[in-house]
């Protein structure tokens, strides 16, 4: 456990520095363009980033346990399609069953990944690459390739994530609640501390009575449930469901985790870091048009930020994995 305890100050220092950087970026844009800090614009920023924040937090759990979930976007798309089809078939039932359906379906899809990784000890990257293809294909079979359009969705279905409360959308509130729960639980709950230990050193965790495989299973299931929930929210927000929604988004989510300081080798990362990483991306995205840079630069800037972040964190753990090769 000393590993986990020693890591806290390190990651906290990183989070504070990163928070200062994000705040500085926000202030710099606001100084140049006072309109950027209006409540309306901040609410818009939050709304645009909400889904990324939730997905990145789910992905964080998986990466923390030394896994990776490439199927997260396909899971989202499949659950989104299920939600849309369910709503089309029973439009009168309201939002509650849709929410339950997408959460449970997503959780089950995530649990499939988790079981394969836990019980058969299969490599996570291959398992989720496989389920990614399967889930995408399943959307096609389910929808027969057709789109579910806005006019086929009930009013409550569409209105739920867009509803306003204190000037902020319900979608943003859900995301804030998930973020708050994660930030609290990652520090306070025993399960989360077990996950840190299992990812940091699976063998040592095993000796102290933690089953690293079981922790991975839990991480995949939670990640899947979040992806499922985001599926409904995504479909309702963009008012359309089809086979290819969120195509390729899995890599953007992983990128957000990396910017947020999650180590791909497992065991390190904080929920607040991940939330900050997503906000950082969101601030850049929404300030680009103001500064007069084409939005097409967004991806390039993200790439540069990822590389800087990972190069910096690689310098800190120089002799961890490659003592020998370091001198080669």
């Amino acid at each position: 456990m000393s590993v986990a305890i020693r890591r806290i100050p390190d990651s906290a220092r990183r989070d504070v520095a990163f928070a200062a950087l994000t705040l500085a970026l926000f202030l710099a844009v606001t100084l140049a363009f006072p309109g950027f800090a209006t409540p309306r614009s901040v609410a818009g920023l939050l709304d645009d980033t909400a889904i990324l924040i939730m997905l990145a937090l789910g992905q964080m759990l998986v990466i923390m346990g030394r896994g990776i979930d490439l199927s997260i976007a396909a899971n989202l798309a499949l659950c989104g399609m299920m939600a849309a089809l369910f709503n089309r078939a029973w439009p009168g039932m309201g939002v509650a069953p849709v929410l339950a359906l997408s959460l449970i379906a997503g959780g089950l899809l995530g649990a499939c990944n988790g079981l394969l990784v836990w019980k058969l000890r299969l490599p996570p990257i291959v398992v989720t690459l496989g389920t990614m293809s399967i889930y995408r294909g399943a959307i096609y079979l389910l929808s027969r390739g057709a789109w579910v359009n806005e006019n086929e969705m009930s009013r409550e279905f569409l209105a739920f994530p867009r509803g306003q409360f204190l000037g902020v959308s319900v979608l943003s509130w859900i995301s804030l609640a998930v973020a708050a729960a994660f930030i609290f639980a990652m520090q306070r709950s025993k399960t989360a501390r077990d996950l840190y230990a299992a990812g940091g050193n699976p063998e040592a965790a095993n000796y102290s009575g933690i089953d690293p495989g079981r922790m991975q299973f839990l991480a995949y299931t939670i990640c899947g449930a979040i992806a499922g929930l985001c599926g409904y929210l995504w479909v309702a927000r963009f008012a359309v469901a089809y086979t290819d929604i969120a195509l390729g988004f899995e890599l953007s989510v992983i990128a957000a985790c990396l910017i947020g300081g999650v180590a791909i080798s497992g065991g390190a990362g904080t929920a607040s870091g991940v939330v900050l990483g997503c906000l950082f991306i969101g601030i850049i995205r929404s300030s680009l048009p103001l500064v007069g840079i084409s939005v097409f630069w967004q991806m390039f800037i993200n790439g540069a930020v990822i590389l800087v972040a990972v190069l910096l964190s690689a310098r800190q753990r120089q002799f961890k994995r490659t003592i020998l090769e370091a001198r080669a």
Binding site: L129, I134, T243, L258, F296, M299, G303, I306
Partner: protein, 305 residues
């Protein structure tokens, strides 16, 4: 049963099933057309197989294709001729591969993280430069690589893929460097102790993968005759699937070129055959996904007993 034998059986079965189901399948010209939908990806799968056997991975291959294609498109708009374009495409790929190699060996960033970063960077550069524009002022003679035929129904793409497959097969299974690839993947520390310059070798493999992504960019751009920043989007995971389907272990140290070639053929033939029967490729992806999990699950289940 060896995995390659099983892939060969699947290939033959697919062949028989499709020739029974579709009257258009068993035709030399049709089959020749069918090869176009996998040769470009398969050409990248070859060096990527070596990289994965050596215990690394490259997620940025498709982004390198996009970057190289944009570079060629811009050069072509400036009036650069066909041979110059090929040099630029290959050069861009090689350079991008060297960036990956440097990040992994000098920067000591895990390859999956480094190449997710460069994937975003390279694809982002393609978008930043092109935006929503399309480049399509390619000289007529440039079309030969992606649209030309060597002899009869054998396209230049297919001929190149065959040549590369043989070269890679000989390299991996018959040369000292092939043994080094397996050794580095199986145990990098022991390899270092036995005097192998592990990092230099890794760097070379990343550069090689970049170079072949550049070659795929030349073929794809030449075949399409146009460049958009979204070119080859999503190919990275398809190419990796092809390699793993070919029996290459993601833990490193295991795999064969024959397997990768067979997997590419299975992939290409079934996509095409299903297309003939009006079944879209996305349905095939269920089959690919299951096969992908099976290739790792079968040995795991056998070992458990």
């Amino acid at each position: 049963m060896r995995w390659e034998t099983m892939l060969a059986a699947v290939l033959i079965a697919a062949f028989i099933v499709f020739s029974i189901l579709s009257p258009y399948f068993l035709n030399v010209d049709t089959l020749s057309d069918a090869t176009f939908n996998f040769t470009e990806r398969a050409i990248v799968a070859l060096p990527l197989a070596l990289l994965i056997i050596a215990g690394e991975i490259d997620i940025s291959v498709a982004a390198i294709i996009a970057l190289a294609s944009v570079a060629m498109g811009l050069a072509s708009a400036q009036g650069v001729g066909t041979s110059g374009l090929v040099a630029i495409g290959l050069g861009t790929g090689l350079l991008a591969g060297c960036v990956n190699g440097a990040l992994v060996t000098i920067g000591r960033v895990p390859s999956i993280v480094a190449t997710i970063g460069t994937m975003t960077l390279f694809r982002g550069a393609a978008y930043a430069v092109l935006g929503d524009r399309v480049l399509k002022d390619y000289p007529d003679s440039f079309a030969i690589f992606g649209q030309g035929y060597l002899v009869g129904p054998i396209s230049i793409e297919l001929a190149l893929f065959t040549l590369f497959a043989i070269l890679f097969g000989v390299f991996l299974h018959r040369t000292r460097w092939g043994r080094v690839t397996f050794a580095v993947g199986a145990n990098p520390v022991a390899s270092r102790y036995s005097g192998i310059a592990v990092n230099r070798y890794r760097f070379a493999l990343f550069a090689l993968t970049g170079l072949f992504s550049g070659a795929a960019a030349v073929l794809l751009t030449s075949r399409l005759g146009s460049t958009r920043p979204s070119i080859a989007q999503g190919w990275e995971l398809e190419i990796i699937s092809m390699v793993i389907l070919g029996g290459v272990s993601v833990w490193g140290g295991k795999g064969s070129i024959l397997g990768v070639v067979l997997a590419a053929l299975v992939f290409g033939l079934t996509t095409f055959g299903l297309g003939l029967m009006n079944i879209p490729g996305i349905v095939l992806s269920i089959f690919t996904g299951l096969l992908l999990i099976l290739v790792v699950a079968v040995p795991a289940l056998v070992n458990r007993r």
